[in-house]
């Protein structure tokens, strides 16, 4: 009898609150995921809840659209009172330097750039055999969120894409995974987690888009939960402060994950997942 009781599965309740929290991406819920896989009715309820949340999100994106990229142009008259905080101190008037300095300094700078380039290429090689290919591939395959979702309209498409010429430093993130992008919807994009490179992750993560999304089915390395603590706050929550700029680098798309900056760096479609290693 006791043995029989031990084998009795624990009954779990999957009410709308729990489904909603999961559909909103508020809670990781492995129990619900497993139960939904085994229970078609529960799976259908979850899909309906996700569809509703997605529809509300898409509606909110239409009703309160993101401003155009020009909105954050700090040179505009709109932000006159902010200028004193964001203007770099005026440089001192240049002094006439001797001729030998004017020749030597540019030559030294060129040599430094060349050395940094070689170092950058060597570091790229340690992240995986397919990394270098992403540099050339990124521009043509990253899709605009507006086109993918049919949602926020053309204003967001008008400006430059939110791509950084950086390779994120994986040690600056608690969680790094290889994942496959799903169709973006309602300002969010889900990723199927294929391999965990660092930290812990479930089978799926949901990221909020900043202004761009990866094309569905794109392979990417996701950098989640930044650990870096820049002295330079308020840029502390920004991924820019936790990324390591390299001379030669791939490009990333910015997202947020549970309120914190997150990055997705695209991989070529034929990437062998097992070959990817972190430095």
């Amino acid at each position: 009898m006791g043995e029989h009781d031990d084998m009795k599965p624990e009954l779990e309740t999957f009410d709308d609150d729990r489904l909603l929290a999961y559909a909103l991406g508020l809670d990781d819920d492995p129990g619900l995921e497993a139960a939904a896989e085994a229970d078609a009715a529960l799976n259908a309820r979850l899909a309906a809840m996700r569809a509703d949340v997605g529809a509300v999100g898409a509606g909110l994106d239409r009703v309160v659209p993101a401003p155009p990229d020009e909105y954050t142009d700090l040179s505009g008259t709109r932000w006159g009172e902010l200028r004193e905080f964001v203007a770099a101190p005026a440089p001192a008037a240049p002094r006439r330097r001797p001729m030998w300095l004017r020749v030597l300094v540019p030559a030294a700078a060129i040599a430094l750039v060349l050395v940094a380039g070689v170092v950058g290429l060597q570091r790229l090689g340690t992240v995986g055999g397919n990394e270098a290919a992403t540099v050339a591939d990124d521009e043509k395959t990253v899709e605009s969120y507006g086109r993918q979702s049919g949602g926020t309209g053309t204003a967001e498409d008008a400006g430059a894409p939110s791509l950084d010429a950086t390779i994120p430093d994986p040690t600056a993130y608690e969680t790094v995974v290889v994942a496959r992008a799903q169709l973006p919807f309602g300002g969010r994009q889900r990723f199927e987690v294929l391999r965990v490179l660092r930290g812990e992750a479930g089978t799926e993560v949901s990221l909020a888009m900043v202004d761009r999304a990866l094309a569905p089915d794109t392979l990417a390395i996701l950098y989640l939960r930044p650990t870096g603590h820049a002295n330079d706050a308020p840029s502390a929550p920004s991924p820019a402060s936790t990324a390591t700029p390299l001379v030669v680098a791939g490009k990333v798309v910015r997202y947020t994950f549970k309120g914190e900056p997150a990055l997705a760096r695209r991989l070529p479609a034929d990437t062998d997942l097992e070959t990817i290693t972190l430095p």
Binding site: R62, A66, L74, P237, S238
Partner: protein, 168 residues
């Protein structure tokens, strides 16, 4: 005292200003929204910033308070639905079948209590976790959950009444 450098401030502004604007819009601001956005960032740039672990809650609380203050000072008393209507280009609403429910959604947003709208804005525009929303709104976790659940129920109902049909 931890102060940011000009370029770090500019980068922070460029990253967060769009979502600050959207949060403030959903709080009910309209014509005065850019003043409120500017006010938020001036306060951030002048402040002695809290540690990183408390920064997000502090920052979003600042936004919510700015929205509440501006809302109290607002002279026009147009309803939220009417003000949000002004944000949507008419040609886009006509072009997208999915936008047919937007008037109903605006009315539903207008009917939500301000605290509920704030929770929705922080969830959908800032992608905050439950814990961060609770910290920003200075309420228990359960309150945030019930606010989001209640708000989503109203918004889903509004879309359903407007003829939205699920794709799944």
């Amino acid at each position: 005292m931890r102060r940011a450098q000009p370029e770090a401030r500019a980068e922070f502004f460029r990253r967060y200003a769009p979502q600050v604007r959207r949060i403030l819009f959903l709080q009910g601001l309209c014509d005065e929204v850019d003043d409120a956005v500017q006010e938020v960032f001036i306060k951030v740039f002048r402040a002695d910033l809290p540690g990183e672990e408390r920064f997000l809650a502090w920052f979003y609380r600042l936004i919510l308070n700015a929205g509440r203050d501006q809302g109290r000072r607002r002279k026009t008393r147009r309803g939220l639905a009417e003000r949000l209507e002004g944000l949507a280009p008419a040609e886009r609403a006509q072009a997208e079948p999915s936008a047919l429910g937007d008037p109903a959604l605006r009315r539903a947003l207008d009917g939500l209590a301000p605290d509920f709208r704030e929770a929705v804005a922080l969830r959908f525009f800032a992608d905050l976790s439950l814990e961060s929303i609770a910290a920003a709104q200075d309420v228990p976790l359960g309150t945030v959950k019930s606010r989001l659940h209640g708000a989503l129920a109203r918004l889903r109902q509004a879309l359903a009444e407007a003829g939205y049909e699920r794709e799944t």
